[in-house]
């Protein structure tokens, strides 16, 4: 579903990502782990079209999307849950969700997905009229997930979903991601919390200083002593 080949991205003059190639198959949950600053978010943003690659190709459903604007990709089914949630702070919860479904024209489908999102996070229904910035961090993350859900993604890009969340909430958001995966959504998950990510992923890649250093099934990576030492806390 997603094929990245030899991707190089610069931030200003410095190289953020160099020569990365990876694939995410249809229906797969693939995770990309690595430390802060390794270039994970950059890859995700480049897939979304928020950053221009210096080199390399990005193919989505067999089509080269490198030159397409982000909203075109979004309308093709690529949806992102951005790092730091980035909900719209001055819009209400419901308005945020309506932005999620912005590109969709099937009213009934949207209504159904909205119900689904509310069912997944009941608190959002209670707070539907509340302004985004008044939500707590956890609620904001739920909103960000729900916003992506109502977009009915084909490929979901998830960026650091556990960042800044209490453990119980980390579990909850990861469960939500798993649920989406089970429902058939292809997921590309970028995560610092390697343990959690590798628990739910099918396959994984390890990124360090902008380069891929390891890849394999989640189980293989979990067992890898190098990964254990660096990312799983011994």
């Amino acid at each position: 579903m997603l094929d990245i080949e030899n991707l190089t991205v610069h931030y200003g003059h410095s190289v953020a990502v160099s020569g990365v190639s990876l694939t995410v198959g249809e229906g797969e949950l693939v995770t990309l782990v690595g430390a802060n600053g390794a270039g994970k978010t950059t890859i995700l943003r480049t897939v979304m079209g928020l950053h221009r690659p210096t080199q390399g190709s990005i193919r989505y459903q067999g089509r080269d999307v490198a030159g397409l604007r982000p909203w075109v990709r979004s309308r093709m089914g690529v949806v992102m849950i951005p790092e730091g949630r980035r909900i719209f702070p001055e819009l209400t919860v419901l308005e945020n969700l309506r932005i999620g479904a912005y590109a969709r024209t099937d009213r009934d489908g949207v209504a159904a997905d909205l119900e689904k999102a509310y069912a997944m996070f009941p608190i959002l229904r209670e707070r539907a009229g509340q302004i985004g910035r008044t939500l707590s961090g956890g609620q904001q993350q739920m909103l960000a997930i729900a916003r992506a859900l109502v977009a009915r993604p084909k490929l979901l890009l998830v960026d650091e979903i556990s960042l800044g969340l209490a453990p119980i909430l980390v579990d909850e958001v990861f469960r939500a991601v798993e649920t989406l995966h089970r429902e058939g959504v292809t997921i590309f998950l970028v995560e610092q919390n390697a343990r959690k990510a590798l628990e739910i992923a099918d396959r994984g890649y390890v990124l360090s200083s902008g380069r891929l250093v390891l890849e394999g099934t989640a189980a293989e990576l979990r067992a890898n002593p190098e990964v254990k030492k660096s990312y799983l806390g011994g």
């Binding site: 079209g49 909203w71 949806v79 980035r86 719209f88 819009l91 308005e95 912005y102 590109a103 916003r147």
Partner: protein
């Protein structure tokens, strides 16, 4: 006389608000100080003159000015601002000032340096009581301003486009990632802002019966004061600031006297206010 002076202030403030609105819309989404917006305002006034004099139709003059200015606004965005998005704010600011200088001189060369008259007549009756007297044209200005602002309010709050617009103003990138065509949104900002400036240009030109190349000089920079006072990017804030400035200028001129020209008063208030609240009247610290 107090009521009359307040009415005078409201008329003046409505004009300020109309000129500054385009600036606010652009700043809201792009964080660019669009000084050349005043050039669009003057263009609107000139189109008004060119259409009104032969046809005698104010409606036609306003519509054509709006169309021409919308186009001009779009062209400015495409060729002046889009290439430098993401550069430090001084770059688009200087481009904007350069473009404004260019436009002022272009108008002088094409339309001549002389003041043109735009003798608009309004059939609407004036309004006169013992306390207050407003001419038909003044009523028309206030009504048009109120109508445009309400329309804009409805657009922003009551439509899908408005929702996408507000989302883009808060986070352009995330909006784009959620399927909002931000190019269109930015374009709409320039179109609507420029169209409102065009309307303001025709109305100001008609109200004072003067259209000339440098009529944008003072609005160009005073509008900056207005949008800062209103908290940059806030539409209701801009309207309130415009009205407040119109009233403040009118009232100080009458009761305090002209200890400083009104433009300086606007900036003095601005500087003092910024020292107290560095993010503007309705601005919120990020």
């Amino acid at each position: 006389m107090v009521v009359q002076q307040i009415a005078n202030g409201v008329v003046l403030g409505s004009l300020y608000a109309l000129v500054a609105l385009g600036l606010t819309l652009v700043y809201g989404v792009l964080r660019i100080l669009h000084v050349a917006h005043a050039g669009v305002f003057v263009l609107g006034a000139y189109v008004g003159v060119l259409v009104y004099l032969p046809t005698g139709s104010l409606a036609l003059a306003i519509v054509s000015a709006a169309v021409v200015c919308s186009l001009a606004g779009l062209i400015m965005y495409r060729f002046l601002y889009r290439p430098v998005l993401g550069r430090p704010p001084l770059v688009p600011l200087i481009i904007s000032i350069g473009a404004f200088m260019f436009l002022e001189d272009l108008y002088r060369l094409v339309m001549g340096p002389y003041i043109k008259s735009l003798p608009v007549t309004i059939r609407a009756a004036g309004f006169e009581t013992a306390a207050v007297r407003l001419t038909g044209y003044q009523l028309f200005i206030v009504a048009a301003a109120a109508g445009l602002l309400l329309g804009l309010w409805w657009l922003m709050r009551g439509t899908r486009l408005g929702l996408a617009w507000r989302a883009s103003a808060q986070d352009l990138e995330t909006a784009a990632a959620h399927g909002i065509n931000t190019d269109v949104i930015i374009g709409v900002c320039f179109v609507i802002g420029s169209a409102i400036a065009a309307v303001a240009g025709v109305m100001v030109g008609g109200y004072y019966n003067q259209v000339y190349p440098s009529m944008g000089s003072v609005p160009a920079y005073k509008a900056l004061a207005v949008i800062v006072l209103g908290g940059m990017g806030s539409v209701p804030g801009t309207v309130i600031a415009g009205l407040a400035l119109g009233l403040a200028e009118t009232l100080t001129m009458v009761w305090v006297g002209t200890f400083l020209p009104r433009d300086a008063i606007a900036f003095l208030v601005l500087i003092l206010m910024l020292l107290v609240k560095p993010t503007g009247l309705l601005g919120r610290a990020s």
